[in-house]
Symmetry: C2
Subunit: 359 residues, 2 copies
């Protein structure tokens, strides 16, 4: 197979080694005469996968035993509703750092349950940056502080965990989960749809600190929307095949060298593209330099016509899905963990050639 | 590969032809240099799959254009909450036919939103039957009548759609969806987790009649829990690979001959096992004869010791996952669409031999 260079923002590229292993498990799992997709979630085989994936996450993130890990469904969009449903009462306030499209979707759902305060917003400048810690104006007594650690649409990313003076962080980490180490002690909840850095679409990883979980509402929340339900056991049928693939990706991350390895790898890949953007004025980074994402590199060309031409010529040499989000336009190269350096180098060479021919 | 005989209640056996095609698409989809699992849900490729699967469902069920079809996540357990959240107001009543474990889980969630009336319950007799139409004592003005068309735990099934005098049916069809034709005109909602008859776990098929959908609450319900959200468009990232596999299963169902074919095929397979059960008193069907499920055949042996021995000896000749649900014990053979007649025949021959050796 001739693999193309895949810069999809998500569902995104997966490690080819993982795809190859997964095709085996899809046809026949461990010589057991059936597919992993044909096995009960109560089978010893699936329970081992579930446990192994949780152990890997614990090891990769250095979680200790004060966290619960659960594999849910419905993506970050479901967490937008589930978090306030569990934790935000009508008379309480949660702080939501507003850095773009996904933050706003989270805010919309939280308002159904309680008060929302925005300690920061970059909406005035088109969401071209994330805040420094000294820019956060937290409310008096927030239940939690929610932030989107990486913003796929604008192409911004928090370089470090926001400082909240002990208020638990709730993080939508969908698009940079496991791309670098984080300080888990600050977090009440970390949630992430798998389809960027950790697997195929269809499974959502939710990690909750136990002492934060203890504050959840368990009276008025439907059973399946209570985090406590999923902390106790595998409540209902999980997406067996998807979790199986997540476990393969986690294994791959560990074998490559864990989160420190990927931090460096991702920094290096992103630097290649940003250096090319900054070489002169032909390409223009879409966001402020100190807020640039290592996951989604967004940039503009001198005109929309040139951007269209750029996308068309890129596909001719197998550089795919470089189009910016429909709400902002421009170019977006999503270079998650599984995007190989070779693809980034091919992109950068193409960018240089395109500038020479059209600059 | 030596395929075992897989009688898992779910996630259940899939057609081997579908598994083989899916392994191709998992590695590389349509010679496009990447996996279907690596493609955006906004790609032309995925949108074609989504549309094709919906067209196939429309054709198979004879839906006409007065129904919306959506591919959601979270299984039937999520629908237990979503249906009343959308349709049952605090001062209203919904009728829930109580035929066992799954009906009760649905009832528990509905009570959070409004009043629940049970027009029938077989709890007194251990859920060994489903009602005839003349046994339903509907409330004065129910918003809908909910029923579990097939009960995986007890092994009962409605032979025909319940008669509700025009009140829309809401059906948890998880375990007999697409196993036979139904009269869709009676239904407000049909929902089904895919993992029994239509695909791998991780996608939930929801079919709603448009005039029923028009009555849904769109004010106070979180965005992702509103059916209307998903009727309008693909709202958030769907489980791309899972829907792709569902589409392959639907293609397989069509190629085999559609729902009439499977009705006959499933009747014949089930008759083989029930005839063996009824041959004498060694095996004992777990439910009333007129309520027997064509999907999950449940039966007992003279003692629990013999049941254990039965399960152990069955595995020696590759007859797997025949153990009854942990809440009721006994033997359960789940023989959904994809369970081949050959597996059923092997089971029946084993049952005869086991009786000879132990009767």
């Amino acid at each position: 197979m001739n693999r193309v260079h895949n810069f999809s923002a998500g569902p995104a590229i997966l490690p080819v080694e993982v795809l190859e292993k997964a095709t085996e498990g899809l046809l026949e799992y461990q010589n057991k005469g059936r597919s992993i997709a044909e096995m009960s979630h109560r089978s010893a085989e699936y329970e081992a996968i579930d446990q192994q994936a949780k152990t890997r996450l614990t090891e990769l993130l250095g979680l200790g035993d004060d966290f619960e890990i659960m594999f849910l469904q419905g993506g970050a969009s479901s967490q937008f509703m589930m978090t306030p449903y569990n934790f935000l009462r009508e008379d309480q306030t949660a702080d939501y750092i507003d850095t773009g499209r996904w933050s706003n979707k989270a805010i919309k759902e939280a308002k159904l349950f309680g008060n929302v305060h925005r300690p920061y917003s970059s909406s005035d400048t088109g969401y071209d940056r994330v805040p420094g810690d000294d820019e956060l104006e937290l409310s008096a007594n927030p239940v939690y502080v929610h932030f989107t650690s990486n913003n796929t649409v604008a192409g911004t990313q928090f370089a470090t965990d926001p400082e909240t003076n002990g208020v638990p962080l709730v993080c939508d980490a969908s698009s940079d989960f496991l791309s670098k180490p984080i300080d888990v002690s600050k977090y009440g909840i970390i949630y992430a749809g798998a389809q960027k850095n950790v697997g195929p679409a269809g499974v959502t990883i939710v990690i909750i600190r136990k002492d934060f979980l203890a504050q959840a509402d368990t009276e008025n929340v439907p059973t399946i929307l209570q985090y406590q339900t999923h902390a106790e056991k595998i409540f209902n049928t999980p997406p067996v095949f998807n979790v199986y693939m997540v476990n393969l990706v986690l294994e791959w991350i560990q074998e490559k060298g864990g989160l420190s390895y990927f931090k460096k790898y991702n920094q290096e890949k992103a630097a290649l593209v940003y250096d090319e953007i900054d070489r002169d004025d032909f390409y223009r980074g879409a966001v402020q330099k100190d807020s640039r994402s290592l996951m989604n590199v967004t940039f503009r060309l001198p005109s929309e016509e040139l951007e269209q031409q750029f996308l068309e010529e890129a596909e001719k040499i197998d550089l795919y899905t470089l189009k910016g989000h429909r709400s902002v336009g421009g170019i977006r190269a999503s270079i998650y963990n599984a995007c190989p350096r070779e693809s980034v180098e091919t992109l950068v060479n193409f960018m240089a050639d395109f500038r020479s021919n059209n600059g």
